[in-house]
Amino acid sequence: MATRKFQIYRGDNEKGEMVNFETEVMEGMVVLDVIHKIQAEQANDLAIRWNCKAGKCGSCSMEINGKPKLSCMTRMNEYKPDETTTITPMKTFPVIKDLVCDVSWNYTQNKRIKPVKLAPESKTEKGYVMYQKDVDRAQEFRKCIECYLCQNVCHVLRDHDKKDSFVGPRFMIRVASLEMHPLDIEDRIPELKNDFGSGLCNITKCCTDVCPEHIHITDNGIIPLKERVIDRFYDPVTILGRKIFGVRKKKLPPLNP
């Protein structure tokens, strides 16, 4: 047990300051525990979000020493005992109060994505037929806990504030989870290019680096989607093929293994 120093942002979007706190840190504590302790003992109205305290809900995102992280999964022993830990809200979204941001923009992006539509041929009385190897990829993307840390670091949103033209990595992989669902027959490629801004991502992979679920956002999600856009809109051979045969249908998994 030792007394350690913290600087925590207090304020809203217009004005605020870094406030100093000191508190006892015990073995095993994570940053969220520290904030709770300060909240209970010194600053009852310090605003934060959290729910599960186990890295499952994606509520407690913030920046710790400038690094975007889940505070419930960041152990205090990652930092030197004599250093001051700074805790600030995510930078890309407007601050409501202290460590709480307005993330409502993300919810509006999700609404723009066409919902799943499954191939009726694959339905049996025991449910839809698809195999584990077919669903591995979609399942990887569906691990997303919507912490928005990737949205927070993506420079298109963070530095260039292009929220009106790019949905961000979280929603790129949401589209990927649908496009790569083995039975989905909806087509989202045109809006991916025209509305969701797939061209704005220049594959810096910062999103992948911060993802607490270790989703390969860029390699497995965004890059394949970009390739589909290129195939559809820029590749003369496939464009010609499509003129003759129409958009190629997905090959569905067989009903019997």
């Binding site: 015990m26 073995e27 095993g28 504590m29 994570v30 525990d33 909240q39 209970a40 009852n44 109205d45 310090l46 605003a47 934060i48 979000r49 959290w50 729910n51 599960c52 305290k53 186990a54 890295g55 499952k56 809900c57 994606g58 509520s59 999964m73 152990r75 409501i96 109060k97 202290d98 709480v100 993330v103 409502s104 919810y107 999700n110 609404k111 919902p115 799943v116 499954l118 025991k126 449910g127 839809y128 037929v129 698809m130 195999y131 584990q132 077919d134 669903v135 979609a138 399942q139 569906r142 691990k143 806990i145 919507e146 649908l178 669902h181 998994p253 009903l255 019997n256 293994p257």
Partner: protein, 619 residues
């Protein structure tokens, strides 16, 4: 004086409080029936407790073992609940769960697959066959995301970070609205509604060691109670046998039962696999009695019986407790749970990825190499708002309840996996029946300003007081009190002390003071939740004292046996005319004899009966 006309009012046919699996299922059903549907929640959309569920949802799909059938699921549920379950609810649940799970797949859920390409199912405590449809150990996330993504395209209005404070009623005694508070700004809003569905989850924050989040302050119980509804079976609080023990700051966080479902074993400090010594008579004929047989079961031998680690949660939690008491506990006062010796590292990482991650980060422990330390943690409320099984309506007209905040389905002890399926089934039924109720009303009732301003004043007084008790400290005292006096093993004297302390805390609460302004003020939110938690805790403690027997999750050391006579009663709490809590022992209705026959048949008879039935329908 407060001017109610200045407060914003929004109208919906059906208003749902709570956006977990139950609330979202209800909202989808109601809006699908053409109702203008609103849903309020304390957190952001997709963050409700349901997101944390790990192991899976139980439904007799029979994808892994074809012998499964709703009757067997029903029998398992009743036996797990020590026959105190509402018979009709358990029947509806077992019958409807498969179709609701398939619907979830239709809406985009991507479950793990069997070799034949169907939804895979895993073993869990108390379930005769592999029955839990799952996605690794993040099934709840899959459920909530699927419902959320489906719901937003259906025109449901969502109100995030909006706390329901209390329910409004009209002169006929029907519900007609809810007063809520925006957490962000601290301003109030009134929702008018023709019917209201409570889907607020449980109240596990009343204990110190808990797997529950800040949201679990029993709001639904308290709102219903204040509105005149009845609470039932609140003495049945499930302590999950395997919560994390160390480090202290993560004590109580859940270790999914899937660890045992996938073969994990429990050991004491002497290295003994102690569960073999705790097999209750009722389960003896269906449980392995040697390590050798347990190993064959894990290897897939259909003739072998299940290992004792997969006995129901009440049994396992008590066994760990007894081992610790006998001086054979683990280093930090629990038991060792080992999967490393039973499964390959690769299997563990594939089947239990989030457990692997959780221990690696939070405890710096590699579960593919070392044993985990686990002990009981408060997990789930079997009791809750008393509802009609078919309609899910409470005793207050127009007030419905579903999910963890409703009572009946799970009796004295819930089987793992039966909650997520419960959310789908009863969420759907609540949405359907609340829509019917709303359709029978021609318009909205007028809001009684007196009622509304009283609710708002109660909330603002906490901020406006000059000085008073710190809500965080009161909450801590409540947790300690419940942990020590109303814990896993209960006894009259302690329960009485517990109630005395609760009375004192209720007094202190009258002067609770939150510092700071009304904007996103966690201290104020804590104080508001505390009112609800105190009502919940009192109902638990008072019911626990009344029930002089041990059944399922309710264990009395002064009445250690399950008593036949008590099987005939439920304990109900409600607000008396004098404003104090009133407890009544009510006789349970006579069950359908066919259901009794199914629940009481031997497993062999029931399985033969199903085989015969299937032959009949096939010819």
């Amino acid at each position: 004086m407060l001017d109610i006309s200045e407060i914003k009012t929004i109208e919906h046919d059906v208003l749902i409080v709570g956006a977990g699996g139950a609330g979202l299922s209800a909202a989808i059903e109601a809006s699908g029936r053409g109702m203008s549907t609103g849903i309020v929640m304390k957190s952001l959309l997709g963050k409700a407790h349901t997101v944390m569920a790990e192991g899976g949802m139980a439904a007799a799909l029979g994808n892994v073992d074809e012998r499964d059938h709703w009757k067997i699921h029903f029998r398992d549920t009743m036996r797990g609940g020590k026959f105190l379950n509402d018979w009709r609810m358990a029947e509806l649940h077992a019958k409807l769960a498969p179709e609701r799970v398939l619907l979830l797949e239709e809406w985009g859920a991507v479950f793990d697959r069997t070799k034949k390409g169907l939804i895979n199912q895993r073993n869990f405590g108390g379930h005769r066959y592999p029955r839990l449809a799952h996605v690794g150990d993040r099934t709840g996330l899959e459920m909530i995301r699927t419902l959320q993504d489906h719901g937003i395209h259906q025109g449901i209005e969502t109100y995030m970070e909006c706390t329901a404070l209390d329910i409004l009623k009209n002169e006929k005694g029907e519900v007609c609205g809810v007063v809520c508070m925006w957490r962000e700004t601290g301003t109030f809003i009134i929702f008018k509604a023709k019917s209201i569905i409570l889907a607020t989850g449980g109240g596990g924050r009343a204990w110190d060691v808990t797997a529950n989040s800040w949201e679990y302050t029993g709001d639904g119980y308290a709102l219903a109670y204040e509105a005149g509804a009845e609470l039932m079976d609140l003495e049945f609080n499930q302590f999950h046998p395997t919560g994390m023990m160390w480090p202290l700051s993560v004590k109580g966080i859940l270790v999914t039962e899937s660890v045992r479902g996938e073969g994990g074993i429990l050991l004491n400090s002497e290295g003994t696999r102690f569960m073999f010594n705790y097999i209750p008579d009722r389960f003896r004929s269906e449980t392995a009695d040697t390590q050798e047989e347990a190993a064959r079961w894990l290897a897939g031998d259909p003739k072998a019986r299940r290992p004792p680690e997969l006995l129901t949660r009440d049994v396992v939690a008590r066994a760990i407790n007894a081992e610790v008491k006998a001086g054979r506990g683990s280093k930090h006062g629990g038991a060792y749970l080992n999967i490393a010796t039973e499964r390959s590292a690769e299997d563990i990482k594939k089947k239990l990825p989030s457990m692997y991650h959780q221990f690696k980060v939070l405890a710096e422990l590699d579960i593919t190499k070392e044993a985990m330390e686990v002990g009981p943690t408060c997990h789930y409320f079997m009791g809750g708002i008393r509802v009609d099984a078919d309609t899910t309506m409470s005793s207050v007209p127009g007030l419905f309840a579903c999910g963890e905040c409703a009572a009946g389905m799970h009796g004295a002890n819930r089987l793992g996996g039966n909650s997520l399926s419960d959310l789908l089934v009863f969420g759907y039924l609540a949405g359907k029946n609340a829509s019917e109720f709303a359709k029978s009303k021609s318009g909205h009732s007028k809001i009684d300003e007196e009622q509304a301003s009283k609710i708002i004043r109660n909330a603002t007084n906490i901020l406006n007081r000059e000085a008073g008790a710190n809500p965080y400290l009161l909450h801590e005292q409540l947790e300690q009190n419940m942990q020590v006096n109303v814990g896993i093993i209960r006894v009259k004297e302690e329960l009485e002390t517990g109630i005395e302390r609760l009375e004192k805390l209720k007094e202190d609460y009258k002067t609770v003071k939150a510092k700071g302004s009304s904007q996103f003020n966690p201290g104020w939110h804590e104080a508001l939740g505390l009112r609800n938690l105190l009502i919940t805790a009192e109902a638990v403690a008072r019911a626990a004292i009344l029930r002089e027997e041990s059944r399922g999750a309710h264990t009395r050391s002064d009445f250690p046996d399950e008593l036949k006579e008590w099987l005939n009663f439920n304990i109900i709490s409600r607000k008396g005319l004098d404003g104090n809590m009133e407890l009544v022992k009510v006789k349970r209705p006579v069950p359908n004899p066919e259901l009794v026959r199914i629940a009481e048949s031997t497993i062999e008879d029931l399985e033969n009966e199903i085989v015969e039935e299937r032959k009949q329908t096939n010819t």
